[in-house]
C-alpha cells in the first residue's frame, strides 16, 4: 500500500467510527478478562442484537487503566465509565444509553486518577480495538512511519529521537537516540531489531498492557527503528505467560504484512523489514539483553559479559538494537509531533511520561501514565487515592527486584531517573508498590531476595551462592533467630554480590536490602535484638526455654 492509500483507509475508518449514535468499549485486556470482561462483552453484544438497536456498537478495547475496578466499560461519546460490570448488567447499561447514567455502576472520571495522568504511550489504550489495523490508522497510526520513510533520512530519524531526550524504559534509562546511533554506525552484513517484551518484574504489567491494547504502536516503533539503524529483521520477544499479548501481536504483524507495512518495499519505498514473535519461557533473567539474545538463538538463556554490547555484536554476532516495549511505543508520537514536542514534557534529564503499575496499599490500583517529574505524593495520594482503611503510609517500592524502598521523607521528590537513584532506588521498568504500617520491611527485603535467588541463572558464583546466603540470613532475621554478626555478614554479602556479579540481576539484587537497611535499620534491630517484629508480620517464636 502507498501512503495515500493508507491515509484513505484511515479517513474511511474515521468516518465509519463517527456513524453510530453511541458505542460501548469493553475492556478485553488481561486484567478485565480475568474477571469475566469477555462475558460482559458477549452479553452486551447479544442484547444489542436482540433489541435490534440501530446505531449502537460494542467494541473490545485494551486496558482502560483502573484494572482493580474491572471489568470496565467506556461509553462513547458521553465518556461515561462503568466499573465492576457483570454480564447481567448488560440490559440496564443499554437502557441507560438514552436516559440518566446508571448510577449503581458509574465510575467517576472527574477525579485525579484520570485528570492527573498524561497519556502518550497509552493514548490509544481503551480507545481503539487492538485487533483492528484500521482503528489504529484512524487514530493517526503509522503517520510517524510515513513521515520517517518518505520525508527523512535514517540520520534525521535518529536526530529526532535524540532531540526527544527519550531514555530506555526497560530499566537502565540509557538514552535511546545514542543507542540507535551506535547501532547505525556498527558494521555488519545484517542487523537486527529486538523488542524486549519479557517483563519479568513481579507485579509489573506495563508492557503487557501496551502489547494487548495497542500492538501496532510497538510494530510502528520497531519499523522506524529498523529504518534508522539499517536493520532487515526483527523479533518481538514476549513471555509465554502473556498469551493474549502474543496473540494480539501476531495478529497485528499479519495485518501489517498484508498492508505492506512489513515485508519488502514498505509503503512503496525501497526499505524492507520483517519481524516475528518469539516466546520467552518465563525466566526473569531472559529480560537481560544478552540472555534474551542467547534465548532467541536457541541457547540456554544466560547472560554473557559485556562488552561486546549487542549494538556491536548481538544476535548471531550481528549488530542488534534492543529496546523495551514502552520505549518503542514512544517512537510513533515522537515522529508524529517531533522530538522537541516530547522534550517539552517531563524534566531536564528525564523526558516524557512513564507508565507505572501502581499496586499495593493504595485505593486505586492499576495502570497509570504520568509526566516525569510528578511527585511520589501526587502519584500515591492524588492518582492512587491514598492509603485505604485509614492506615499510615510507610514506604513505596520502585524498580522491582532491582529497586529499593523509599520512605515518607522523600514523598515530595520528583519522579525521575536521577532523583530515584539518589535515594537508593531506581525507576526500573515501572512497578510501584505502596506499603503502609502493616508491612514489615525486613519481610519485604526477604520477598525480593527470595525472588532473585529463585531467578538467578546460576552462572556466576556471587549471585548464585550469595543470594542464597542472603536469603538465609533474612529468613533468620524474620524468624528472630539472627545475631548482630549475621547482620554484619548480610551487609558484607550485599557489597560482594553487588560488585562482583556478572549481570544486572546479581548486581542489583542487594538493592532492596540496602535501601531497607538504610531507612528502616531500626526494624532489623528490633527483630535481632528485641526479637520482635514491629509491624507484627513476622511470626517470631517466644524464646526457647533456657536449659541449664
Amino acid at each position: 500500500m502507498t501512503p495515500e492509500e493508507l491515509r484513505e483507509l484511515a479517513e474511511k475508518r474515521r468516518a465509519q467510527l463517527k456513524q453510530p449514535r453511541c458505542r460501548l468499549n469493553v475492556c478485553l485486556a488481561a486484567g478485565c478478562q480475568s474477571c469475566a470482561g469477555d462475558s460482559v462483552f458477549k452479553a452486551i453484544k447479544q442484547q444489542i442484537e436482540a433489541r435490534k438497536l440501530d446505531g449502537v456498537q460494542v467494541r473490545g478495547v485494551g486496558c482502560l487503566g483502573l484494572c482493580a475496578e474491572g471489568p470496565l466499560v467506556l461509553v462513547e461519546p458521553s465518556g461515561l465509565l462503568y466499573q465492576r460490570v457483570k454480564p447481567e448488567d448488560a440490559g440496564e447499561l443499554l437502557d441507560a444509553l438514552e436516559g440518566a447514567p446508571l448510577k449503581r455502576l458509574e465510575c467517576p472520571t472527574d477525579v485525579p486518577f484520570f485528570r492527573a495522568q498524561k497519556k502518550i504511550v497509552l493514548e490509544n489504550a481503551g480507545v481503539i480495538d487492538p485487533e483492528n489495523l484500521e482503528d489504529y490508522l484512524a487514530a493517526k497510526g503509522y503517520e510517524g512511519l510515513i513521515r520517517a520513510l518518505t520525508d527523512m533520512t535514517p540520520a534525521d530519524v535518529i536526530a529526532e529521537v535524540t532531540t526527544s531526550g527519550l531514555r530506555g524504559r526497560g530499566g537502565g534509562g540509557y538514552p535511546t537516540g545514542l543507542k540507535w546511533s551506535t547501532v547505525a554506525k556498527s558494521k555488519g552484513a545484517k542487523k537486527y531489531v529486538i523488542c524486549n517484551g519479557d517483563e519479568g518484574d513481579p507485579g509489573a504489567f506495563m508492557d503487557r498492557a501496551v502489547l494487548e491494547s495497542d500492538p501496532h504502536r510497538v510494530i510502528e516503533g520497531m519499523i522506524i527503528a529498523a529504518y534508522a539503524v539499517g536493520a532487515q529483521h526483527g523479533y518481538a520477544y514476549i513471555r509465554a505467560e502473556y498469551p493474549l499479548a502474543v496473540k494480539r501481536m501476531q495478529n497485528a504483524i499479519k495485518q501489517a504484512q498484508k498492508a505492506g507495512l512489513l515485508g519488502d518495499g514498505i509503503l512503496g519505498t525501497s526499505f524492507s523489514f520483517n519481524m516475528e514473535v518469539r516466546l520467552g519461557a518465563g525466566a526473569f533473567v531472559c529480560g537481560e539483553e544478552t540472555a534474551l539474545i542467547a534465548s532467541i538463538e536457541g541457547k540456554r538463556g544466560q547472560p554473557r559479559p559485556r562488552p561486546p554490547f549487542p549494538a556491536e555484536s548481538g544476535l548471531w554476532g550481528y549488530p542488534t538494537l534492543i529496546n523495551n516495549v514502552e520505549t518503542f511505543a514512544n517512537i510513533p508520537p515522537i515522529l508524529r509531533h517531533g522530538g522537541a514536542w516530547y522534550a517539552a514534557i517531563g524534566t531536564e534529564k528525564s523526558k516524557g511520561t512513564k507508565v507505572f503499575a501502581l499496586a499495593g496499599r493504595v485505593k486505586n490500583t492499576g495502570l497509570i501514565e504520568v509526566p516525569m517529574g510528578i511527585t511520589l505524593r501526587e502519584i500515591i495520594f492524588d492518582i492512587g487515592g491514598g492509603i485505604p482503611d485509614g492506615k499510615k503510609f510507610k514506604a513505596v517500592q520502585t524498580g522491582g527486584p532491582s529497586g529499593g524502598c523509599i520512605p515518607e521523607q522523600y514523598l515530595d521528590m520528583p519522579v525521575d531517573y536521577d532523583s530515584l537513584a539518589r535515594v537508593g532506588s531506581i525507576m526500573g521498568s515501572g512497578g510501584m508498590i505502596v506499603m503502609d504500617e502493616t508491612s514489615c520491611m525486613v519481610d519485604v527485603a526477604k520477598f525480593f531476595m527470595d525472588f532473585c535467588k529463585a531467578e538467578s541463572c546460576g552462572k556466576c558464583v556471587p549471585c548464585r551462592a550469595g543470594t542464597d546466603q542472603m536469603h538465609g540470613i533474612l529468613t533468620k532475621i524474620c524468624n528472630g533467630e539472627a545475631t548482630l554478626d549475621d547482620l554484619a555478614l548480610l551487609e558484607r554479602l550485599c557489597d560482594v554480590v553487588k560488585n562482583t556479579s556478572l549481570c544486572g540481576l546479581g548486581q542489583t539484587a542487594p538493592n532492596p536490602v540496602l535501601s531497607t537497611l538504610k531507612y528502616f535499620r531500626d526494624e532489623y534491630l528490633a527483630h535481632i535484638v528485641d526479637k520482635r517484629c514491629p509491624a507484627g508480620v513476622c511470626k517470631i517464636k517466644a524464646p526457647a526455654e533456657v536449659h541449664a
Partner: protein
C-alpha cells in the same frame, strides 16, 4: 597484515599487547598472576567464576580479566585489598555451597579450588555451610561424577562441546539448584553421545569428575594436554 600493538600498565608495570588479547593473557605473559577458576586456555572464556576481577582506572565496575580485552593506555590493578577480600569471599561461597571435605576427596592435593583457597588466604569459611545432599553417578564404566564437589565452572560443558564435539554435558536448573547433567539428565553410563574420551575429567578443576579405580589423592589431573587443546582449537576454521 600487521597487527596493532597496544601498551598498557598492569600493577604499575608497563606491558605491551596485541590487539584482541585479554588482560589475563597479557598479565600471564608478563608473570603477573591473576587467580582464575572457570577460565581454561583453549576454551571460550565465559566470565562466570568472577575470581579474575580486576580494577581498571576510570571504570567504576570491576572487570573480569579473562574476557576483557586490553586497550591502549589502560591502567589495570590486580591485587588491591578490596579485590583480595572479594576473591576470598567468593571462594568461601563455593566451599559453603556444596560439600568439600578435602581429607576424603580423591582430588586432595590436586585440586584447583584448594589451590585457590590457599592463594586467597582462606583459613576458614565465614558463611554457613549449606550441606546439600547431592548424588554421585558412577554408572560410566571409566569415570564418575560427584556433584557434591562441583563448582559449576562449566569447563566440562565447554570442552565436551567445543573440543570433543559431543556436547554430552550441559547445565540444568537455575540459581543454587543449578547442576551439570549428561545428555537428557540421565546416568552418564547410559549416555549415547559420550565418546569416553576423558577430556572433561581432566579439565575439571575439582574432584567432581574423576577416573575410576584411583585411590584418594591419586586423581591427578593431566593438565599437560591443555596446550594440545589450544592447538586443536586454533586449527578450527
Amino acid at each position: 597484515m600487521s597487527e596493532s600493538i597496544l601498551t598498557l600498565s598492569i600493577d604499575g608495570k608497563d606491558v605491551s599487547a596485541v590487539a584482541g588479547q585479554t588482560i589475563l593473557e597479557v598479565a600471564r605473559e608478563n608473570g603477573i598472576a591473576i587467580p582464575t577458576l572457570c577460565y581454561l586456555q583453549g576454551l571460550t572464556p565465559v566470565g562466570a567464576c568472577r575470581m579474575c576481577l580486576v580494577e581498571v582506572k576510570g571504570v567504576p565496575k570491576l572487570l573480569p580479566a579473562c574476557v576483557t580485552r586490553a586497550a591502549e593506555g589502560m591502567e589495570v590493578t590486580t591485587q588491591t585489598p578490596r579485590l583480595q577480600e572479594y576473591r576470598r569471599t567468593i571462594v568461601e561461597l563455593l566451599f559453603a555451597e556444596r560439600n568439600h571435605v578435602c581429607a576424603v576427596c580423591v582430588s586432595n592435593n590436586h585440586c584447583e579450588l584448594q589451590d585457590l583457597a590457599r592463594r586467597v588466604g582462606m583459613n576458614h569459611v565465614r558463611v554457613p555451610y549449606r550441606y546439600p545432599r547431592l548424588g554421585v553417578d558412577a554408572t560410566h564404566p571409566r569415570f564418575a561424577v560427584d556433584h557434591n564437589r562441583c563448582v559449576l565452572c562449566g569447563r566440562c560443558v565447554r570442552v565436551c562441546d567445543e573440543i570433543e564435539g559431543a556436547h554430552t554435558w550441559d547445565f540444568m536448573g537455575r540459581g543454587i539448584e543449578c547442576r551439570v547433567i549428561t545428555d537428557m539428565n540421565q546416568p552418564w553410563g547410559s549416555s549415547e553421545t559420550c565418546t569416553s574420551c576423558g577430556k572433561c575429567v581432566h579439565v575439571c578443576p575439582t574432584g567432581t569428575l574423576t577416573e575410576k579405580g584411583r585411590a584418594a589423592a591419586e586423581m591427578k589431573k593431566r593438565l599437560q594436554f591443555l596446550p594440545y587443546l589450544t592447538l586443536m582449537r586454533e586449527a578450527r576454521p
